[in-house]
Amino acid sequence: MSRAPIPIAAIAGLIALGLTGRVDAQRGGGQRGGGQPAPPAPRAAAPIDLTGYWVSIVTQDWRWRMVTPAKGDFQGFQLTPEAVKIADAWDPAKDEAAGEQCRSYGAPGLMSVPGRLHITWQDDNTLKIETDAGTQTRLFHFGDYTTPANTPRTWQGVSLAQWQMPRGNVPLVFRPADRTAGDAPPVRPGGGSLRVVTNNLRPGYLRKNGIPYGQNVVLTEHWDLYKRPNGEEWLTITQQIEDPENLRTAKLIAPLFKKEANGAKWDPTPCSSRW
């Protein structure tokens, strides 16, 4: 029988055409063939607005974040023997001498450093996150960004970002039941989050006192926004840090930020290996 090739190709093609449209918002700009209008760029397609000034709220792990803890204080981490050796050899003076005082400001540790974020769009496809602590800049690339060959490893590495779009509505089984006609609480529009995967990092510290991550670390983040009825805006960044060379289990933390009205408290401070 020879009937399969044409229908297979046709059906597969239809599937391809039908599905690719769903992620157009993740791809920046560009006119598609057939005269169709270009899909919105990631900036325009953003389901949540992360831009503005944010301050970290240090209610967790205070004694390890607000001050430099004792050398050898590894609580909260499950380190490999190799990582313990590195951490036990931590010497901030040595880092300073080597010009590596930004080791604790690399992407895997940066969001836990007390400070402020200034988030802006660098262009339609790139979200820029600046920190006043350590004066670092993270760039989140959307769309079809590819890392150029031989890109050197940096403290902030290469971050690929993707919006997670909210559903039009939750599945029927999870919708609230009507008590009487018309009085069920509505499913409020909104939601969506930002997923970011970062690698190509230069080795650094997860904590100021020398708890290490290596160059093969992978940082996966989900940025979730919560606008409260009282006008407050909170940002929860769920971070999964995977580094089998140094961490026996993936590190899972979720630093918190609160939105500020402006940059009045923005206070750029250089990296420090001691404080």
């Binding site: 029988m1 009937r3 399969a4 090739p5 297979i8 597969a12 599937i15 599905l19 992620v23 993740q26 709220i57 240090v58 209610t59 967790q60 792990d61 205070w62 004694r63 607000m66 001050v67 004792a70 050398k71 050898g72 609580q75 909260g76 981490f77 007390p114 919006w163 997670q164 779009m165 909210p166 939750v170 599945p171 089984v173 999870f174 919708r175 609230p176 039941a177 009507d178 008590r179 069920a184 609480p185 499913v187 409020r188 939601g191 969506g192 997923r195 989900h222 979730d224 919560y226 409260r228 909170w234 929860t236 769920t238 590190k251 899972l252 933390i253 979720a254 630093p255 206070d267 404080w275």
Partner: protein, 311 residues
Amino acid sequence: MLVAVVTVFRKGDAVRRIGLAAFIVAVMLPAAPVFAQVDLTGTWVRSSQSDNGNSPFQNDLMGIPLSADGRAKALSYDIASLSATERQCQMYPPIYAITGPFPLQISIVQDPVTTRLLGWNIAGWGDRDGTMIWMDGRPRPSQYAPHSHGGFTSGEWQGDTLTAVTTHFKMGDIKRHRAFSSDRATMTYRFNRHGDILTVTGILEDPVYLAEPYVLTEIFRLTTNPNNFPLTACEPIEELPRLHENPALVLHYLPGKQPFVNEATQRLNIPIEAVQGGPETIYPEYRKKLKDKYVPPPPVVNRGRGAQPQQ
């Protein structure tokens, strides 16, 4: 869809069908719609990688935006009071869902007729009351209604995120050995699911014991192992003989008499005013006040679980 397409051509060449399946999967993978997930059912094991629920110090209020009354209440607290027979099985308040040691076992409660969602149930644990998150819009009880340990909780979807608010709960210890929330407090939860990871953000507001909202996060992983939910019923026993010999004894510390008030300062070199919390201490600029007062303690030499810097 993939199954249907392949079934249509089930009499075709097997190799070609495998090729077709591979092609369709290849097409679907990069194009898969990126939607958040909303099914919260299951047993979620906490990652416990922050200091939410533990401290080696009896007086550790670091990072808690306490009011003056909240600090006074915390410093009057003697953890041994929980050994009184009538207190051994009292439940912790709702924030314990974030600070406690147990997994979250979440199930849906459906309308028996329509099968639509009435609420989400978070099972109780040995010292935690269960939480029913009502999704059906029922009214919140009167402010004069009795308060329970678990309180009253209602929720709503905000996009793909479940937001729930709990009121009407009793006063209780918000961190083991530490501060309190009052019976006028409100707890707001945000449940964000990302694959098999569930992030719960909790916002505790209390006009009595807090000067600002106390916000914490905890991360949970979905598990299929039911043994990860070791429910244990609480049974009072004789923990401290002196409490049984004198049932009238109410353990506490009078103002200025908290014997452990300097413990964390002595062991970590962190100034006492920081150890005792407050709204100012949770912001980055507070580090400037610490910078000239703080010297890192000597290296940890006996590293084990709970090991602290040595003096």
